[in-house]
C-alpha cells in the first residue's frame, strides 16, 4: 500500500513536470525565454508575504471544491455540481450576511453554516435522485448547476440589489466577512481570510472521516463495490445520499470562502470556475484530501502568478492556464506514463537475465 501510494504521488509529480515542460515549449514558441517566464510566474505567486497570502486566498475555494469532488470520487460518485453547490453556498452566505445584524462571531458562524447547508441541500437532491431512482448524478448535478445559476440571477437583483449595479449584490458588512484585520495585517494586506483555515480544517476532517471512521469505511466500500457492500449489510442508498450531502456541504463552504471571503459580494450571470477546476484539483491530488490541498495551492500559485508574469514579460497570461490544462491532461493520462515507465524498466532489465527469471516465478491468473 505504502509503496503504491508513493508511486502514485511520483506519477502526479511527473505530470506536473511534463506540464511545465510543455508550457516551456509554448513560451519558447511565443518567442520568450521559458526560464524567465517561470521565474516571474513563481515569483508572482510567492515573492513576498502578501503574495503568498493572495496565493492561499486564491487556492482556498479550490481546496474546498477539490475536496468536494475528491470525496465524492472516493465514494464512487462524480460530483460535477460543485459549481452550483458553491454558488448556492455563496448566495446563502451573502443573504444571511446582508439580512442579519449581530456581533461578528455569531454572524460569521451563521453565514458559514448557511453556506454549508445550502451546498448540502444542492448535493442532497442529486444524491436522493441517485439513491431512489438511479438517476445519474452527473446529469442531475449539472441541472442543479443551472438552477443555482438562475436562482442567483433572480434573487440577487430582486432582494439584494447593489447600490450602483443591477448585476451584483450589495457589499456585505465587515461583520459578515471572513476577512479579519489581524490576518490581513499579518500578510501585509493580502486577501487571505479565515476561509483558508476552514479549508484546512475541512481537509483534516475529511481525511479523518475517510481513514479512521466506520462511516468513511462504509462510504468507500459502497464507492468501490456497491454489491459487496450491500451483501455485507451496508445500506448503499443511504451512503450515496450522505456522500452527496457532504460533498455539497464542502462546495457550499467553498462558496462562503469565495463570496464572503475572497470577494465581498455576489455577481449574477457568472458560474464560478472553481466548481469545474475542483475536478482538476481532485484529479491531480489523486482524490486524497492532502493531495487536494497541495494541488489546490499549486494551482493557486499559477493563478496568482500569471498576472505578474504578464506584467514583467510579454508572455500572455493564457500560458499559465494552458500549463494547468496540460498538467491535467498528463495527470489524467498517467496510466500512459506508467506504461512507458514499465517498458523502460523492462528494457533495462533485459540485460540481466537473473532478475528476469525472478519475475517469471510470479505466475498468477494468466487466463
Amino acid at each position: 500500500m505504502k509503496v503504491k501510494l508513493n508511486k502514485d504521488y511520483l506519477l502526479a509529480l511527473v505530470a506536473v513536470v511534463l506540464g511545465l515542460i510543455a508550457g516551456a515549449i509554448l513560451i519558447a514558441i511565443t518567442g520568450n525565454n521559458p526560464l524567465e517566464g517561470y521565474f516571474y510566474l513563481f515569483r508572482g505567486g510567492l515573492m513576498n508575504i502578501q503574495r503568498i497570502g493572495d496565493t492561499l486566498a486564491t487556492a482556498t475555494p479550490l481546496i474546498l471544491t477539490g475536496l468536494s469532488v475528491a470525496f465524492a470520487f472516493k465514494t464512487g460518485l462524480f460530483n460535477i455540481g460543485a459549481a452550483g453547490q458553491m454558488l448556492i453556498g455563496g448566495l446563502c452566505a451573502t443573504a444571511v450576511g446582508l439580512s442579519l445584524d449581530c456581533s461578528k462571531p455569531i454572524l460569521l458562524t451563521l453565514v458559514v453554516l448557511s453556506a454549508i447547508l445550502g451546498g448540502a441541500l444542492w448535493g442532497a437532491v442529486p444524491g436522493y435522485l441517485k439513491a431512489r431512482f438511479n438517476v445519474h448524478e452527473v446529469v442531475s448535478s449539472i441541472m442543479m448547476n443551472w438552477i443555482a445559476y438562475w436562482a442567483v440571477y433572480y434573487i440577487v437583483p430582486a432582494y439584494f440589489k447593489g447600490q450602483f449595479l443591477e448585476t451584483e449584490s450589495r457589499k456585505i458588512p465587515a461583520a459578515a466577512s471572513l476577512k479579519v484585520d489581524w490576518l490581513m495585517n499579518l500578510f501585509n494586506g493580502s486577501y487571505i481570510n479565515l476561509g483558508f483555515f476552514l479549508a484546512v480544517i475541512a481537509v483534516i476532517v475529511i481525511a479523518f472521516i475517510l481513514n479512521k471512521t466506520t462511516f468513511g469505511y462504509e462510504l468507500k466500500a459502497v464507492g468501490y463495490n456497491r454489491f459487496a457492500a450491500e451483501s455485507a449489510g451496508i445500506i448503499a442508498n443511504q451512503s450515496i445520499l450522505l456522500s452527496m450531502v457532504l460533498a455539497g456541504a464542502l462546495a457550499g463552504l467553498g462558496g462562503a470562502a469565495f463570496y464572503v471571503g475572497y470577494a465581498s459580494n455576489i455577481q449574477i450571470g457568472v458560474s464560478p470556475s472553481q466548481g469545474f477546476d475542483g475536478i482538476a484539483v481532485s484529479l491531480l491530488g489523486l482524490n486524497s484530501p492532502w493531495g487536494v490541498l497541495f494541488a489546490a495551492i499549486f494551482f493557486g500559485v499559477l493563478q496568482s502568478g500569471k498576472g505578474f508574469m504578464n506584467a514583467m514579460t510579454s508572455i500572455p497570461p493564457e500560458i499559465a492556464d494552458t500549463i494547468i490544462a496540460t498538467i491535467i491532461y498528463f495527470a489524467a493520462t498517467n496510466i500512459l506514463i506508467e506504461r512507458a515507465w514499465e517498458r523502460l524498466r523492462k528494457r533495462k532489465n533485459k540485460g540481466s537475465a537473473l532478475k528476469k527469471d525472478l519475475k517469471v516465478d510470479k505466475v498468477g491468473g494468466a487466463e
Binding site: 462511516f215 463495490n225 449489510g233 487466463e367
Partner: protein
C-alpha cells in the same frame, strides 16, 4: 506423422508473468486431445493464440504441416479452426439460422438467402446428430441447444479443427452425455478436437490423449486409456490429490433455517422461485442441485436479504426474518459465501484486512463509537489469514485484487466462518478454483457441519453436491422437485430431476 495442428515451443508473456513457456502441443487428424490444467495454468491463453486472439512472443504454429501466422480469428477461420467459447456468443432474438450465417450471409441479389442457408444447416445438424431446428429462436431453446448452435456455426464455416473451451460447465449431466455423443460423431467424420477442461472424468470418458499444463509450463502428454485419473491430477497440480471428501455420517439436530412457501420475483419480473419450502438442520449439509438460472440466485438473495420476498416466510431458529435487513440477518447468524467473489464477496480495491471485517466492522472490537481500531483489525486479519491459509505478498495490507483467485476465496471463507454463524450459505464455493484449493475449502465446509452448524450448499457442479451434501434438494424452474438422501441417490437420478422430471415419472 500427419498432425493437423502443431504448436511448437510457444511462448507468451503478459506484464509480470509468463502465461505460456515453451509449450508444444500436437493434434492428430481425427482425435480428441484434452488440454488439462488448473485455472490460470495458461490453457485458454494457448488456445487464444491458436484462434488468433493473441500473438505469441516465440514459437511456431503449423497447420497441416505448413507454417502459419494467425494474426486474427478470421485467418483462423480460413485455416479451418473454430472455437466454442465458454460463454456463447449468440444474438438472443435471432433464429438459429440467422445466428449461424451472421458475418457471411449468403445473398441472392440483394436479399439474404435464408432458406438455402437453413437447408444446409438442417443437413449439417442431421449429419452430426445435433438435432437443431434452424428456425427456432435462441431465447426459446435450452443452453445445451445453444451450445449445439455454436458447434453448427463452426461446421457451417467448414471448420476441421474444433476447440471446446470448458464446454460442460453449463450443462446438465444428460446434456453432457449428449455432447459426448456429438463429439464422437464429429471425430468419426474426421474432425479433430481440442477439449479444454479441468474435469478428469470427461477426459477419461472421451479424449484420446491429454496434454497437461501447469503454471504456463508443459508437463507432458499422456495416453488417456493407460493413465489413471489420479496420475493426471497429480500432473496437473504437482502433488497427490485426494478426490473424495472425507466425512463421517451426519447427526442433524434442531432446525436452524426454515423456508416456508417462499416465492420471489426475479429480474425479469417473473416468479423466479415458487412456493419453495426447505428445512436445514444443525449438523447437516443440504445441497441445492440445479442447472444455472433455475431460481438458485433468487433463493440465495432472498435468504441473505438482498431481494424482497413476494410471499412465504423465512425463519432462523424459529425467529421470523422475512423482513429483516441484511445487517441484522448477519448478526442473527447468517453467513454467506457468494457465487461471484469479485462482485459480491470482496471490495477488490480494499486491503485484505479491510475485507476481512466487511461484515463485522461496525461492531466492537473492530470499532468503537464509529472510530476504527486499526490494531485489532490488523490482528484479526493476521489470525484469519493464518487459520485459513490465505497467502498474500504483503500480508494483511495487500490489496485484495492482487491475490490469486484461490486466496481471495479462502479469505472470504475465512471471514464468513469467523463470524461463527448459525448457518453457512455457500454458493458455488469452489467456482474457478484449482484442485488444491477445492480440497481445502471442502474440508472447511465439512468441518463446519461437524461443529454443529447448518450448511446450505448451492452449486452447479453436481459432483460437488453429491460429495458434500447429506441431503440434496433439487430445484428446477424455480420449484423444488424433490429432496433426496445423498447416500441413496446417484448422479443419474439427480440429473433427471434437475431437468424437471420428478421421481417415478420417468420409465
Amino acid at each position: 506423422m500427419d498432425y493437423v495442428v502443431e504448436m511448437l515451443n510457444i511462448r507468451k508473456e503478459f506484464p509480470g508473468i509468463v502465461a505460456n513457456d515453451d509449450i508444444t502441443i500436437q493434434l492428430k487428424q481425427g482425435e480428441i486431445l484434452a488440454l488439462l490444467g488448473e485455472n490460470g495454468a495458461g490453457k485458454s491463453t494457448l488456445m487464444s493464440i491458436l484462434f488468433g486472439l493473441y500473438q505469441p512472443e516465440g514459437g511456431t504454429i503449423k497447420i497441416r504441416g505448413r507454417q502459419a501466422k494467425i494474426t486474427d480469428p478470421n485467418i483462423a477461420n480460413e485455416l479451418g479452426i473454430g472455437m466454442v467459447h465458454q460463454h456463447f456468443k449468440l444474438v438472443h432474438n435471432f433464429t438459429v439460422t440467422e445466428n449461424i450465417i451472421l458475418g457471411l450471409e449468403p445473398k441472392r441479389g440483394i436479399v439474404i438467402d435464408i432458406r438455402s442457408a437453413a437447408k444446409r444447416i438442417g443437413e449439417l445438424s442431421e449429419k452430426y446428430g445435433l438435432n437443431v431446428d434452424p428456425y427456432a429462436k435462441i431465447e426459446d431453446v435450452s443452453v445445451g441447444m445453444q451450445q449445439r448452435v455454436e458447434i453448427l456455426k463452426m461446421l457451417y464455416r467448414n471448420a476441421e479443427v474444433l476447440i471446446f473451451d470448458e464446454p460442460t460447465s453449463v450443462l446438465t449431466p444428460q446434456e453432457i452425455q449428449d455432447l459426448m455423443k456429438i463429439m464422437r460423431n464429429l471425430m468419426n467424420e474426421g474432425k479433430s478436437i481440442v477439449l479444454i477442461t479441468h474435469k478428469l472424468k470427461e477426459i477419461k470418458a472421451i479424449a484420446d490423449r491429454c496434454t497437461v499444463i501447469r503454471r504456463g509450463k508443459l508437463i507432458g502428454t499422456v495416453d488417456v486409456a493407460s493413465t489413471s485419473e489420479a496420475k493426471m491430477a497429480e500432473m496437473m497440480v504437482g502433488r497427490e490429490v485426494s478426490f473424495s471428501v472425507e466425512k463421517g455420517p451426519s447427526c442433524p439436530g434442531e432446525v436452524i433455517l426454515r423456508i416456508e412457501n417462499l416465492s420471489v420475483i426475479n429480474n425479469r419480473k417473473l416468479k423466479g422461485l415458487r412456493n419453495f419450502s426447505l428445512e436445514v438442520r444443525s449438523g447437516e449439509i443440504v445441497g441445492i442441485a440445479g442447472v444455472e438460472g433455475n431460481g438458485q440466485m433468487e433463493l440465495v438473495e432472498a435468504l441473505i436479504g438482498l431481494r424482497k420476498v413476494e410471499s412465504g416466510k423465512l425463519y432462523l431458529r424459529e425467529r421470523d426474518i422475512t423482513e429483516t435487513p441484511v445487517r441484522n440477518r448477519i448478526e442473527a447468524g447468517i453467513a454467506s459465501i457468494p457465487e461471484d467473489r469479485h462482485k459480491n464477496g470482496l471490495v477488490l480495491d480494499f486491503t485484505v484486512e479491510d475485507n476481512l471485517v466487511l461484515k463485522s466492522l461496525h461492531q466492537a472490537p473492530y470499532s468503537k463509537n464509529g472510530l476504527l481500531n486499526r490494531n485489532v483489525i490488523h490482528q484479526h486479519a493476521e489470525k484469519v489469514m493464518a487459520d485459513f491459509d490465505v497467502r498474500a505478498g504483503e500480508g494483511p495490507a495487500a490489496i485484495a485484487r492482487s491475490l490469486s483467485g484461490g486466496n481471495q476465496q479462502k479469505a472470504i471463507v475465512g471471514r464468513e466462518i469467523d463470524l461463527n454463524p448459525e448457518i453457512l450459505i455457500a454458493v458455488q464455493p469452489t467456482r474457478g478454483l484449482d484442485v488444491g484449493a477445492i480440497e481445502y475449502i471442502h474440508k472447511r465446509i465439512v468441518e463446519q457441519r461437524d461443529q454443529g452448524k447448518a450448511v446450505l450448499l448451492i452449486s452447479l457442479e453436481l459432483d460437488e453436491i453429491l460429495d458434500l451434501s447429506d441431503r440434496i434438494a433439487v430445484i428446477s424452474n424455480g420449484e423444488l422437485i424433490d429432496i433426496v438422501e445423498a447416500a441413496v441417490t446417484n448422479e443419474n437420478e439427480v440429473g433427471l430431476m434437475m431437468a424437471g422430471v420428478k421421481r417415478g415419472e420417468h420409465r
